[in-house]
Amino acid sequence: MTDNFERELRFLQLRFIGKILAGFTHESKNYLAIIKESAGLIDDMIKLGKSGEAASSQFLEITHSIEEQIEKSTGLFKYLNRFSHRMDTRLSAFNCNEALEELMALINRFANQKRIELAKDFQQDMPLIYGNPSLIQFLVFSFLEETIKTLDKNSRIIIKTGTANGSIIIKIITDGNLIEAEREKEDFPYETYNAVLKHLEGKITPESGVKTFTFPLKVSDI
């Protein structure tokens, strides 16, 4: 690998982590904003001396909403924590579905902005594999981000996983209209991503509406 390639890869990976953190902090701030307004509303109601059955029922509704926001935040924290620890080692045994699920949770906001639905269609009995989950997340994110950019609103992207001929298969399937003008002006570093794929001994097969990643299956003995 050349110095230029290393530099480009480092830049793209830092950009990827930055995007994940930006999405995470945005989402967290939204949860905190709801909690703060809900607590403020309870405060206002008490100060105004609101009481009785209707007020009690509203208090309960607000506290449930606060609990719900805390649960959502906790879920997101769990995903970010797991995502971060995947970078602890270069190689590890991991479940591909779990790695993709956390990636989808962390980038859901970007899809929602364009009213694009991210859906999963995972093979349930995926074996644990041995490899670099961070690099796979990075690759899938990069192609997903590009796909989100090129799709019109109200589209759908399905992430499908499976196994075939001793390989792990990850498919990004799109269901929606392409925005041609945006697609043409994008400067997408295919060469860098292809080199990463090669490093992972994987390959990508782009077809109309489907990008298929194939990685050789190295089943973990853990």
Partner: protein, 127 residues
């Protein structure tokens, strides 16, 4: 009594409804919209004095809504509501005539103070 007419545009429905109720308790006349189309329909049905606008609402560019508001009536003041540190979009909003911006989670006192200042400006512009 304030009775300033406020349109709050945010896709976080629980946030918008709690904030709307708190503003109503402070005598603001508040309507909420969770997307661009709903916002524009409410806006044209009964033009507000002040719009509190999340620029990143799904399905429609918040900046476009801001531009449409300013074309319809430049004296209607817009406060940008943002949950993230996207300085560029806030700067773009300010460039397109927004009165101020406020970060989430908000401080109700800071928000009402900005609404009142925006209303003062609107009243002055119309005098």
């Amino acid at each position: 009594m304030s009775h300033t007419k406020v349109l709050l545009v945010d896709d976080e429905v629980e946030f918008a409804s709690a904030l709307a109720e708190r503003l109503q308790m402070r005598d603001y006349d508040v309507k909420t919209a969770s997307n661009g189309l709903e916002a524009m329909a409410l806006f044209h049905g009964s033009p507000p004095d002040i719009v509190i606008l999340d620029l990143r609402i799904p399905g429609m560019d918040g900046l476009e809504i801001l531009k449409n508001i300013k074309i319809f009536d430049p004296t209607i003041e817009v406060l940008i509501l943002t949950g993230h540190g996207d300085v560029e979009s806030v700067a773009e909003g300010m460039k397109n005539g927004a009165f101020e911006y406020i970060m989430k989670p908000i401080d109700i006192g800071e928000l009402t103070s900005k609404i009142d200042m925006a209303m003062k400006k609107r009243t002055g512009s119309r005098a």
